[in-house]
Amino acid sequence: MTLGPGERFPDLDLPDHTARERRLSEVAGGDPVALLFSRGWWCPKEQRHLRELCALQDEFEVAYTRMVVVSVDEPEVQSAFRAGLGARFVFLSDAARRWLPRLDLLEETDTLHEPYRPTAFMLLPDLTIHRRYDGNWYWGRPTMEDLRQDMRAMSALVREDYERS
């Protein structure tokens, strides 16, 4: 499965960082979503990028937009990692690797952790993919300015009163 713009992203069913079962559509809650697949807590690149996201979460939460991070960490590990980061957005755990092969996002070179290949999807509220970022190389990931621009573009598409003129 190669997921790209215009396609509908699968409605993932995974436990969150508190081990509660969630669906991606429920987490989206009718808002645009930045969905980020992350290797896990051990990766210094993930730690760096997620700290960037934490700096942006204040904007996301007042702008009717969502952030979701998926990794293969267990929920209790995610919960501790999230607390350490100061993150308020949701983490979904695919520790059982149920979705990883179906999404074709396995990072083949890390045979120790078998994690997700860092990939980000900007999703419209109905989970249609607006944009995809392949972040195996760190600079392939969305910068915070990329995220702002994507959220602006998607909000303009889905908010009927976005422009008054």
Binding site: T18, R22, G29, G30, E61, Y64, M67, R82, A87
Partner: protein
Amino acid sequence: MSDLPSGAAWLSFDGEALYAGEGPGRCFMVDGRCLDGEPVAGAYAHVCALPDAKAKLAYDQPEVQGVRRDAVAWWIPLLGDALVCLTTLALDEAGYGGAITVTSRPLDFREDPFARLFPGTVVRTDLFAAVPPPPGPVLERYAGVAWPGGRF
């Protein structure tokens, strides 16, 4: 009293007990899902509100936004599977009257971030149903329907 928006429900608090609907004491609007479902018997509600009508804040105040951020960041994870539901107490489109955290077993509610705004009272109750907690932060400015159930 404001008209009840879609998705909201009335709840009353007299300082000691909670009542579904417009009962004794002060009336608040809550996330209607909390009262709409199979109630959890013998639950513990930490009511961070006062019956005094003067105990009111604006949802826009940074302190109110701050405790909601804390609820999502660490209060809800700390409660774990004991959490039954959580709702703010809306007074009108812009007024915040407090919050209630409901758990299935007694916990140390001194950590409750909502108690920073109004003092908490623990009430045994059979009124509340289980509602999934908010998965992430989206802050509503004006809360005709109490957070987390409301939409702008």
